[in-house]
Amino acid sequence: MVVDDKLISHLAELAKLEFSDTERVEIKKDLEKIFSFMEQLNAVNTDNVAPLIYVNDDVDVVREDIVDHPITKEEALSNAPIHDSDYIKVPKFVTHRS
C-alpha cells in the first residue's frame, strides 16, 4: 500500500486531527513501517480460512430489559476534562453529519 499525502490527509480528516508538515513526514514513515509489517501476513495462504470475528462460539448473549444505574451523574462527569454540573463541555462545533 502506498502511503501518500492524500492518504494522510484523508486519515487526518477522519480522525479530526491536524498535522504540521514535519509531523506528516514522520507519520508517513510510521505508516509505511506499519503497512510493510502487516503485509508480511500476505505470505500466508488464507484461501480456505473463514475470517475469525469472535473469540469463542457463544451466541445469543443477551440481557433482559431491566433498568440499572450503577454510576451517578457526578461520577460520569468526573472523567470529562471540562464539564459543569450537568454537561460535558467540548470545543464549539456546528457542522452536521449524516
Binding site: L14, N56, R63, D68, P70, I71, K73, P91, K92
Partner: protein
C-alpha cells in the same frame, strides 16, 4: 388545469425512518430510556465507553424489531451480527456506532399506502437495529458545545424503503401508515416533534417514463410528517429548476428550513464519508429461529389492516368508517370492546365517530383518558335499541353521563325525563289533546292532506315534553284520525 414544466417530471423518493424503541433500558446497557430526564443522569460506564466495558444486547429490542418486520411483511434474518460504523463526534463516546451492516434483522418487506383512493405497495429494503447518539447543545454556552449523553445508546430501528415513492403525497401516506403500525405494535410512540421518530428523505427527479435515476439529494431535519411533504415539494421544484436552467443537481445532504419550506446544503458528499464498517466482535451473533418468530407473531396485537378487513366484511361497516375507527389504536380497541357487548355495530361506530370523538376533540383528551367506558356507551345504545330513550334523548343522556358517570344509564334517563312513554293510555290522551287543539287541521287530514300528521306529532312531543315514543304515537294518531 394547464400543464407546467414540473408536470414533465416525477420524483423518485426513498425514506429512511429512525424509530426509537419503547424499551425500558438502552440497547447495549441497562441505563434508563425515560424521556426528559436531567442531562447526563441516564448513563453508565458502557455508554461512556470506559475502557474494559462490554456491550450486552437488550433482548426486547430483537422482539420489537421482529414485530415491525412481520407487520411490514419482511423476511426475518436468522443469523444477526453487529458492526461498527466509525466516525468522530462529541456525542458518540466510543468513536463508532454499533449497528447492523450486512445482516439487517428484516429484509424484503412492503407496506400498503393509499393516495386519493389509489392503493399502492411501497417496498421495504431493510430494517436494522442500532444505537442512538447523545445530544449536543450549541446555544446554552457561548464558548463550548454541551454534550448530554442520556440519548446515547437508546435503541433504534432504521427502516429503509425502496425508492418506490413517486410523490410527496405518497411519502405522507407512507409515513402515516408506518407510524400507525409502530403505535399499534407499541414499539415506538411515533412523536416526530420530540424526535422519537425521525425521517430522512432521498430525493431525485427524472422525466416521466424514464427508467434511470437522477442525482440523489438527501434531506434532513423534518420534525413532522407534514414537513417531510413540504421538504419533498420544495426539493422537487428546486431540482427541476436546476435541470431546466441547464445546471446540474449535486449529490448533497441538505437541511430543511421549516420557516419557508426551503432546503440548504449541509455538506457536500464529494468528501464521501468513510465509515470503515467492520464486524463488532464484542457482541456475539444472535440467532433468530422460526420458533421465536412464531412466538412473537402470536403475541402481536391485531394490525389496522386486519381490523379494517374485519370491520368491513364481518361487521359490514363502510370502508370509510373502518378507516376512521382504526386510525388510532386506542380508538380501535375501544370499539372492539364496545362491540363485544352490543351487536349493533353501526350504532357503536356512530357513537365513537360522532359524540365520543367530538367530545374528545373539543376537550383535547385521548380516548384512554375518557371518563366513559365502552360499558357506558353500551348502556346508552341498549336504551335506544329498546325504544326507551329517543336518539335525541340519548345525546342528552351522553352529556349527563359524562357529568355523573357513576349513575346508571336508566336512572339518569329517568332523572332527566328522557324515558319515552309507550304506555298506550298516556299516549292516547296526549294524542287526543293534540287533535283537540287543531280541529280544522283534523278535517283537512281527513279530507286527504295526510302530510299534516307531522304537525300532530310535533304537538304530542311538545305536550309530552319529548317523552312520547314516536313510533307508537304515530300509530295511535293514525288510528284516532281514521276512526
Amino acid at each position: 388545469m394547464e400543464l407546467t414544466v414540473y408536470d414533465k417530471y416525477e420524483a423518485v423518493i426513498g425514506l429512511e425512518v429512525h424509530a426509537q424503541l419503547l424499551t425500558k433500558s438502552k440497547i447495549y446497557s441497562a441505563d434508563s430510556t425515560e424521556y426528559g430526564a436531567s442531562p447526563n443522569t441516564q448513563i453508565s460506564a458502557i455508554t461512556l465507553a470506559m475502557p474494559g466495558t462490554l456491550p450486552k444486547l437488550n433482548n426486547e429490542v430483537i422482539d420489537m424489531a421482529i414485530k415491525v418486520g412481520l407487520a411490514l411483511n419482511c423476511k426475518i434474518t436468522e443469523v444477526n451480527e453487529f458492526a461498527r460504523k466509525h466516525y468522530f463526534y462529541a456525542d458518540l463516546p466510543k468513536g463508532y456506532q454499533i449497528t447492523q451492516d450486512k445482516t439487517p434483522i428484516c429484509t424484503q418487506g412492503h407496506i400498503e399506502i393509499e393516495v386519493a383512493g389509489k392503493k399502492n405497495n411501497i417496498g421495504i429494503t431493510r430494517i436494522h437495529m442500532e444505537e442512538d447518539a447523545g445530544k449536543n447543545n450549541h446555544e446554552l454556552d457561548p464558548f463550548f458545545s454541551l454534550v448530554d449523553l442520556n440519548r446515547a445508546g437508546m435503541p433504534l430501528i432504521e427502516i429503509v424503503s425502496e425508492p418506490d415513492i413517486r410523490s410527496s403525497d405518497e411519502a405522507y401516506s407512507y409515513l402515516t401508515e408506518l407510524r400507525k403500525l409502530l403505535r399499534y405494535l407499541d414499539v415506538c410512540d411515533g412523536n416526530m416533534e420530540e424526535g422519537s421518530m425521525r425521517c430522512d428523505a432521498n430525493i431525485s427527479v427524472r422525466l416521466k417514463g424514464s427508467t434511470t435515476f437522477g442525482t440523489r439529494v438527501e434531506v434532513k431535519n423534518m420534525n413532522s410528517i407534514r414537513n417531510v411533504k413540504r421538504a419533498i415539494d420544495g426539493e422537487f421544484k428546486r431540482q427541476i429548476d436546476l435541470i431546466e436552467s441547464g445546471q446540474e443537481v449535486l449529490q448533497q445532504t441538505r437541511g430543511f428550513n421549516p420557516a419557508d419550506g426551503s432546503t440548504a446544503a449541509l455538506r457536500s458528499k464529494e468528501l464521501a464519508n468513510d465509515y470503515r464498517y467492520f464486524p463488532e466482535p464484542d457482541l456475539p451473533p444472535v440467532i433468530v429461529k422460526q420458533k421465536r418468530v412464531d412466538s412473537v407473531k402470536s403475541l402481536m396485537p391485531p394490525l389496522p389492516s386486519e381490523l379494517v378487513e374485519k370491520f368491513t366484511s364481518e361487521l359490514e361497516l363502510s370502508a370509510y368508517d373502518a378507516g376512521v375507527l382504526t386510525d388510532e389504536k386506542d380508538i380501535a380497541l375501544y370499539y372492539l370492546d364496545l362491540i363485544s357487548k352490543t351487536k349493533n355495530y353501526k350504532a357503536a361506530a356512530n357513537w365513537i365517530m360522532g359524540e365520543v370523538k367530538s367530545y374528545l376533540n373539543q376537550n383535547a383528551i385521548e380516548i384512554k383518558d375518557f371518563i366513559l367506558t365502552p360499558n357506558h356507551i353500551f348502556s346508552i345504545i341498549e336504551l335506544v335499541d329498546k325504544g326507551i330513550v329517543s336518539s335525541s334523548g340519548a345525546k342528552r343522556l351522553f352529556e349527563a353521563m359524562i357529568e355523573q358517570p357513576t349513575v346508571s344509564a336508566s336512572d339518569l334517563a329517568a332523572q332527566l325525563n328522557l324515558v319515552q312513554n309507550s304506555d298506550t293510555d298516556q299516549l292516547k290522551s296526549w294524542a287526543e289533546a293534540a287533535l283537540q287543539k287543531y280541529p280544522e287541521k283534523v278535517l283537512e287530514y281527513q279530507g286527504g292532506k295526510k302530510g299534516i300528521l307531522g304537525l300532530f306529532m310535533g304537538e304530542v312531543m311538545k305536550i309530552s315534553g319529548g317523552q312520547a315514543d314516536p313510533k307508537s304515537t304515530n300509530k295511535i294518531l293514525q288510528e284516532l284520525l281514521n276512526s
